[in-house]
């Protein structure tokens, strides 16, 4: 899959490969130390943030957390859908 910044796609793939093996081989097995991919993540992040800035993407709106907060949408009482 591509990154939003064409120049970041190679970094994204490297990071995704690292993350996927960490997730399956470590995280799901109870090892919660996430330092394994921290280095490549930092480089990849810088690239993506630059690409987003160039596309005038609103960082504030992305940073807003919704899941697990009071802003999360709730299912209506059953029978009304």
């Amino acid at each position: 899959m591509n990154s939003i910044g064409e120049e970041c796609t190679d970094l994204k793939k490297k990071y995704d490969d690292c993350f996927n093996s960490w997730f399956t081989e470590r995280f799901l097995k109870g090892d919660h130390d996430d330092s394994m991919c921290a280095g490549i993540f930092k480089i990849y992040q810088e690239c993506v943030k630059n690409a987003m800035k160039q596309q005038n993407i609103d960082f504030k709106e992305i940073d807003k957390d919704v899941l697990g907060t009071e802003h999360e949408s709730k299912a209506p009482p059953s029978g009304s859908s």
């Binding site: 899959m1 591509n2 990154s3 939003i4 970041c8 994204k12 990071y15 995704d16 993350f19 996927n20 997730f23 399956t24 995280f27 799901l28 109870g30 919660h32 996430d34 993540f41 990849y44 992040q45 993506v48 987003m52 993407i57 609103d58 709106e61 992305i62 957390d65 919704v66 899941l67 697990g68 999360e72 949408s73 299912a75 209506p76 009304s80 859908s81």
Partner: protein
């Protein structure tokens, strides 16, 4: 008032497989509308993995909708929490920008339901605040969402099948004669052809 929609789908894979496969969903033959996917933030907190990703997708609107929504692509924020202890993955997506024209919020909860079964409960809220057109836009949004559900399921399920192939013949059996091996190979080839046929017919729907 937002239109609410929900459905439930079952994956014949373990929760660990579904959770691992989730990050590898794109690209797939059903996801040609997904243009990019990036991780915005990620952290482990209290044993759970919190991720925020940004996706861009092509914006498919009917001709009459172009006056409200002419953008060629939309940006989508996906928040997720993976709880490896309880075996629950929750994803929550919303569009970034154009939320007054049409806001689509989707929440999916993937829960383990037995050794090789994972149930995905999908909820969606579709809203529009365009004066005079909100009802039509909401109806269009719900219809588009319903169609996308099948595609999303088939796309993800196909990715899971390729990551974790299901054994079709008993394994660990040593062929006794050369002829038996040849018969097996022919049978395996036939199985592969049948599988390819099933997959391509699934993809056409």
């Amino acid at each position: 008032m937002a239109r609410y929609f929900e459905n439930t789908a079952t994956f014949n894979f373990s929760w660990d497989q579904v959770a691992s496969g989730y990050w590898k969903r794109y690209p797939n033959p059903q996801s040609t509308h997904v243009l990019s996917e990036d991780t915005w933030s990620r952290q482990v907190k209290d044993g759970c993995l919190y991720t925020k990703r940004l996706l861009t997708k092509t914006n498919r609107v009917p001709k009459w909708g172009e006056r409200f929504f002419s953008a060629k692509s939309v940006k989508i924020i996906e928040e997720s929490v993976v709880d490896p202890e309880k075996k629950i993955l929750v994803t929550y997506t919303r569009n970034l920008g154009y939320t007054k024209v049409m806001s689509v919020i989707e929440r999916v909860e993937y829960r383990s339901s037995g050794a090789n079964t994972t149930v995905a409960k999908r909820s969606a809220w579709i809203d529009s605040q365009v004066f005079g057109f909100s009802r039509a836009i909401r109806a269009f949004g719900v219809e588009r969402f319903r169609k996308n559900c099948t595609q999303m399921y088939n796309g993800f399920n196909g990715v899971l099948l390729s990551l974790f192939p299901k054994p079709m013949t008993p394994q660990h059996m040593t062929p006794m004669t050369h002829t038996l091996k040849e018969m097996r190979d022919a049978a395996a080839a036939a199985t592969d052809r049948a599988k390819a046929n099933v997959l391509s017919s699934v993809n056409r729907t």
